[in-house]
Symmetry: C2
Subunit: 295 residues, 2 copies
């Protein structure tokens, strides 16, 4: 596994590895990218496994992007552990890690950015102003730097996934964005680097998020279509949150393309959730699916 | 010469032409692009001549981008003549013209844009709010669609040239931006599609722009370094403008990289000009150069 810290280095190493693969495969190799902010966990490993199965040259970027943290306390608290991250990349079968400094990504004079559209202003956009502009700007840069044919994103950050898809379409980029299912702890908690920041007590309440989402999905597959009723049932699971001073920022049934709220739920809709356990913001979501087992 | 009107078509035709050239040249062909808004003139022909001399596959885009016209009257007035444009492309040696509709470039749901940085807020940016965001968004799309290795821009729109260079650098795009000298009428007026909109009387005053810029450049090469004095001399040439009700929106000595105004002029600085002759906005600029003929 090679490790590059500059744009020039990662381009050169990518070209060398691609040429080697080209000779071995006798065809143009497919280049994959898993962009990460480090503090890697099994969720990232699952993205990497998908990439290793589907591409010929496998890149992973590790960059804690300051421009997507509108709250500097949140940035300084964010977990990092580069040595462990590199170990996980190595065992997942990554060919090339790109781990640049902030100065390498944003040299003096940097000023052009991506402006996310209306899809970014709902949900997380209401709580984190400018966050998605920062996400899209760095994703655009990473895709251009690595010239990836395929890039992998987790479904856990569903709005981010949609926005990245939207950007690559709007900007006519020749890259495929692939979504990978959320990986969960045994108790249902979606894996997230932020989980490490939870206190023992907060950690006990965190699995209620997925339990609530499951209740919503079960209500839908049992035939309920009224979003109010579906969300009301799900909300019961989170009744203890307000007593603990935790907040549910939003839990909504949305159109999976436009992310607009839906009054009458349809097959394929998503329930989006965001909440705050003390200082820790957690996101999760679930797809609403018709029960086809009886057919 | 091939003509494509959709993104899919231009990509396919570009690939076919590139493969043919690859076979003929026995090396990867270099792809060039001249992006235009149509109403082509000898200034565009000069960009195309540079491209034909330096690249192997030559593309020209003709797209009157509505998103860079903040004033809809200005857009509807802008000249267009597709048949003549195609004739000029053909005789210049273009391989492939991309002439999409607005719906093809901005389909329903389009929402992600480029946000130009501080370099865009000065000069033209003060008069045309959002103009450069529209320019950069369409240039990004055209570069991605054509996958050009080299793109050609005229020096006449100097701020635009700098902003495009800045974007390709900030976004880590693997494309070279080449600047081509301004082409002028015999009387010095910089070629522009907007010149066709001038009345006969306005046309008589238009050459005073370049005369003023020449006076500035001559003052500099004669040893004057005080921007105030240089601009004062140049301003005399435009004395008749205010009597005619024409405006000089700005005429300034600027750093050629940052476009910041310069009190003491240096070799390589630019004098930027913008003015309004009735409804018609004209831009021009000149480089300040030391007189080296005596060395």
């Amino acid at each position: 596994m090679e490790i590059a810290t500059t744009v020039a280095e990662v381009r050169e190493l990518r070209a060398i590895i691609a040429r080697r693969r080209w000779a071995a495969l006798q065809r143009r190799p497919i280049v994959g990218l898993v962009p990460t902010m480090g503090a890697l966990h099994e969720g990232h490993a699952s993205l990497m496994n998908a990439m290793v199965a589907e591409t010929d040259v496998r890149l992973c970027s590790i960059f804690l992007n300051p421009r997507q943290f509108e709250d500097s306390a949140d940035l300084s608290r964010y977990p990092h552990a580069l040595d462990r991250d590199l170990e996980l990349c190595r065992s997942a079968g990554i060919d090339l890690v790109f781990a640049p400094s902030a100065e390498e990504m944003y040299p003096r004079g940097f000023e052009t950015t991506v402006q996310a559209g209306p899809l970014s202003s709902r949900w997380e956009g209401e709580y984190r102003i400018g966050h998605y502009d920062g996400v899209l700007s760095v994703v655009l840069k990473l895709l251009n730097i690595t010239q990836a044919d395929v890039a992998y994103f987790g479904e856990k950050d569903f709005q981010q996934l949609r926005l990245v898809e939207r950007m690559t379409f709007d900007f006519d980029m020749e890259v495929h964005i692939l979504a990978v299912h959320t990986v969960r702890e045994a108790d249902g908690l979606a894996l997230s680097s932020r989980n490490a920041l939870l206190t023992e007590e907060q950690r006990q309440y965190a699995p209620q998020i997925y339990r609530a989402l499951k209740v919503a999905a079960d209500a839908f597959s049992a035939g309920e279509r009224d979003s109010q009723i579906i969300l009301g049932k799900a909300g019961h699971e989170l009744a203890a949150w307000s007593q603990q001073g935790f907040s549910v920022d939003y839990m909504q049934v949305v159109d999976p393309e436009t992310l607009a709220p839906r009054t009458t739920a349809q097959h394929g809709d998503r329930v989006l959730f965001a909440g705050q356990l003390g200082d820790v913001r957690l996101l999760d979501n679930i797809m609403l699916e018709e029960d086809l087992t009886g057919l």
